[in-house]
Amino acid sequence: MRPTIAEERAHAIAGQLDDWELPAEEHRALGKQLATRWRRNSPFVAAAFFGLTVFAMFALVALCKSIGATEFAAAAIALGTGEYMIRRRRMYGSGIESALWIGGLLAFIAGLPSTGEAEALLVIAAAFALAAWRMQNAIFGTIGVVCTAVYFAAEWHRAHDFWRVAMVPLALALIAIVAKRWLFSRPWIDSFWSYVAIVMPLVAEICGRIVTYDANGHLEYALPYAILGVIALLAGLHLREHSLLIAAGVSFAIMAFELHDLVDTPLEWKLIGGGVVLLGLAALVARRLRGRTAGFVATPASLTRYDELLKLGGTMVAGQAMHGKPAEPEPAVTGTTGGSDSFGGAGATGDY
């Protein structure tokens, strides 16, 4: 038992209603039309429920182990409760039942005898895949795919071959870009391919770096990211799909990271130059789109629901790094007298 396609689509539309800037009357009427029998929460609330339930799962596993009931008992309790909530309480997307499902499966895996083999990653990937299917959760699905890519990296790490290890995640990213071409009726599957396209280039780079024990940039390593970035960019512009544009941004960022060693310019100038290029690019695109009302436009809209939160939070943290460390709290030291003789920021701090 899980939401039908129509119900899942209704949930997805309901999640976007606030971004559509509808008149209050139409907003209310459409919201009413989209109501389903399932109890759901907004992503922010669902994340809070998910966190609290995961916390409870840890305690449950510890409790079961301490009374000799093993992790399997914890798994059975969690999965049983999760299913009860879905079938009887009609909870789907509340954050609780998904935490119980994935927590139960991981508790079950934790109870299995550990052999230290890389195949454990495949078992974890299967658990996430199963939870993704049951809960229609794109994030679980993506974690499953990441675990699969990491499994191949672990299997082949002795070869210390970047290409062999990066090939799997890069191929998956490419498949995801191609998959975005099709119209999906289930929103979670569309989101799944979006996340895979965004995350896999990063997985390829991290796995490749780890197995080669190499921190230096290579032109030949930058090339696949450049090609993938161009493909994602062209596909994103052609299909008019935000997730592919983000995937292109990730690929280009990794490409720039790979190239940074090859240019004999100090890091600070590379950072400043890169920043100026991005600012210039943003200004150019904004200028080209000014006043347009159809096709590509620049009318206000959120890329994610938490754009402003991310920006202000990031600014506050980065700002503190720029204007230095605060005074070390010591007894009887007032704020004004606390010295601050360390300055720097964004990874560069120094005492003068």
Binding site: G275, L279, G335
Partner: protein, 306 residues
């Protein structure tokens, strides 16, 4: 790809959506209108952050090569350039102007820090100066990003770093500083709200102040001598936060109350009831209680909103 065109067409045919609204939404679903607003703003923000990071590295790596005065002057000129850009374009602001202004603010921060260290100006005073300077900029340009810088500098002046590690610190002095900072922000928010009815700064003050206050009480709860006081503080703050959530219809405050409250109670439990069975049992009970409490509060919240 995903398209909700069939559902929107049905909604139009059923009279739920008016034809103009439906036409606009269907055009969006067909990608006949596709906004790059988010991408442009993200590019500009990342660009500004990269430049600021580069300047930071520049200062660290070239102290001796360039000379203290030259660095100070160049940074001041660059910052002034950013502010001038934002000022001249205030009537026809584009999507990147906010990021240029933010870059200017960050360059001022870097410059002030540099001057303080090179000419032995008191670091605390520099942070206070930055808090005031960025606050003036925030009001002049109506910029929440500059306000964030100002609050960050104020917290720095009071000795608070916005790092997760401080949650697990048991330094009572740090907790008191967090409370003081929260109180200042609460007072500032009230003055701002009364002085400017159309202010957009209120959420920034509110969320930062409540977070700092909860962090302060959690630090109390982590300290052996003040653990009980810390739990009581956190629960009292949680109650206030819940009331405020219902009064203002802002669910985030409800979540803060439940999450921080659960954390504080569990920290107290772990200290007071050690043992392999009792500790996880009580933790499980508190977590279940938190989930049930939040479910009930959330349901009430939704029914009120409806």
């Amino acid at each position: 790809m995903l398209s909700f065109e069939p559902e929107l067409t049905d909604a139009r045919d059923d009279g739920v959506l008016t034809p103009p609204t439906a036409a606009r939404l269907i055009a969006m679903q067909r990608r006949e209108i596709f906004t790059l607003f988010g991408e442009i703003r993200a590019l500009a923000w990342i660009g500004a952050m990269l430049v600021a990071a580069g300047v930071s590295v520049l200062i660290s790596n070239h102290i001796k090569d360039i000379g203290a005065l030259t660095i100070a002057i160049v940074l001041a000129i660059a910052a002034a350039g950013c502010y001038a850009w934002a000022w001249m374009r205030r009537d026809r602001a584009s999507l990147i102007d906010d990021s240029i202004l933010l870059l200017g603010g960050m360059l001022v921060s870097a410059d002030a820090g540099w001057i303080a260290t090179q000419w032995h100006v008191d670091g605390g005073r520099t942070l206070l100066f930055l808090a005031i300077f960025h606050a003036v900029g925030a009001y002049r340009f109506e910029s929440r990003a500059l306000l964030s810088l100002s609050i960050g500098a104020l917290a720095g002046w009071l000795g608070i770093e916005r790092k997760l590690e401080i949650l697990f610190s048991s330094n009572v002095d740090l907790a008191i500083r967090a409370f003081v900072c929260a109180a200042i922000l609460a007072a500032w928010r009230e003055i701002d709200r009364r002085a400017r009815t159309a202010t957009t700064f209120t959420p920034v003050f509110e969320h930062t102040a409540i977070t700092l206050a909860f962090w302060g009480s959690l630090i109390f709860a982590a300290n052996q001598e003040t653990a009980t006081v810390g739990v009581v503080f956190t629960l009292a703050l949680g109650a206030l936060s819940t009331v405020y959530a219902f009064r203002t219809n802002t669910e985030a405050f409800l979540l803060y109350a439940v999450i921080y409250g659960t954390l504080a109670v569990d920290m107290w439990v772990w200290r007071g009831f050690p043992g392999p069975t009792l500790s996880p049992f009580i933790t499980l009970l508190t977590a279940i209680a938190a989930v049930i409490g939040l479910t009930m509060a959330h349901r009430r919240f939704r029914s009120r909103a409806a």
